[in-house]
Symmetry: C2
Subunit: 239 residues, 2 copies
């Protein structure tokens, strides 16, 4: 594979894209390249933070791991996104672990350079804040799901997001490949792989989706959305 242009990679990051080309170039000159094989660890929760990573190609998952081995994925970042930048700012260790979900190439930017840039360039700082605001919003949704929704609702949202992001509209419905294993889906939505299998089967039985091996065809998007809107059986107000 041809070497990717680090300047073009940096330009894809929202808070670097505000920089003129010369500054991107200067920044790129400080960057190292880090290559990871699939499943290789980038950093582990609690590791001291030395800098941030920019995904050039592939994908990186941020995740928390229980001592039983069960994982909760916080987010998956792909090309043009950053990983590990929060620990740069508050001087703490990494709050979660990161690993490659496929062979990946990342740029590594030492924290000193990044901090310097943010201090002297308020447009960058400002764009960083915007990125963090978005992340918080996303995390708030994840908290809501994990606390207030059942596994079937969370799986429905997962499928809907995939349909929206990469679905192909056909006469049968919206088709998309399910590229993750049930284990990976379980880690994303906060359950175990048996329940992913069981709930997919339930959606098939109800005529909401059809499955052809690992291809999903959404037959009834309205019903899928209705599934998403459901809640756990928890009434703290009178019914």
């Amino acid at each position: 594979m041809a070497t990717l242009d680090p300047i073009e990679t940096l330009r894809r990051v929202p808070f670097f894209s505000v920089l003129p080309r010369e500054e991107l170039q200067a920044l790129a000159s400080h960057c190292g390249v880090r290559r990871l094989s699939r499943d290789e660890t980038l950093f582990t929760e609690g590791d001291p933070c030395e800098g941030l990573y920019v995904v050039q190609s592939g994908g990186i998952k941020l995740f928390k791991m229980a001592e039983t081995g069960r994982e909760q994925v916080l987010v998956i970042e792909r090309a043009g996104s950053t990983v590990g930048e929060l620990a740069v700012f508050d001087g703490g260790a990494y709050p979660a672990s990161a690993a490659a979900i496929e062979d990946s190439t990342l740029l590594y930017l030492p924290k000193r350079e990044f901090l310097e840039l943010c201090r002297r360039n308020s447009a960058v700082s400002f764009a960083v804040i915007r990125a963090l605001a978005w992340r918080f919003r996303y995390m708030a949704s994840l908290v809501e799901e994990l606390s207030l929704k059942e596994v079937s609702h969370r799986l429905a949202r997962f499928l809907r997001d995939h349909a929206v992001a990469s679905g192909l509209r056909t006469r049968r419905g919206i088709e998309f490949p399910l590229e993750e294993t049930n284990q990976e889906i379980a880690a994303a939505i906060g359950t175990v792989r048996d329940l992913v299998s069981r709930n997919l089967r339930r959606f098939v039985d109800r005529g909401i989706i059809k499955m052809e091996r690992r291809k999903v065809i959404v037959l009834d998007m309205a019903e899928l959305e209705a599934q998403i809107a459901g809640s756990k059986r928890a009434a703290t107000v009178e019914k």
Copy 2:
């Protein structure tokens, strides 16, 4: 109650405390005052964002609500903290609802002034980033708990945090008042009030804590910490 000095309130906010007094004064001149009774709503999830609030006195909870009425509290903010600032930056609606957990007084800062300040003062922007980094870290912990830990582990962490924050070390153990109802605790740790009661009883039965009405005495902090370290019964790796 005497009127609180808005300049002193603003000074307590980490990302405003970097400002000299004259700038705090100018900022304070743009602030309105908002008073809320206990349980009164500040804003509702989805409301358009007009500005940020600074807590002068009392307490504000940010929370998500299921249609069943069950709540998940994201965070509780007290004097010297801000509420609703994230939506200022990404132009979105409020990602969660906010309400007073007791009679409260807040300063209201229109978003235009706040955005202006961040744009021209990179020390403020920088401090905002730091604050957001901390929030993300906190949210990552909440996600970890909700996904990977059982109710008893989450309650143990709640009690430990209270013991650490406001516990009084006595010969009997660490004593602190449990000021929240079981319902409020349930909303904080992601469960229902019945389970809070039941798990408190379990800790009493195991000699970890003693309860005198709503006062908690931690008899065995080491065991409480051990409770916190536990995980859900989920093994995705062989045992």
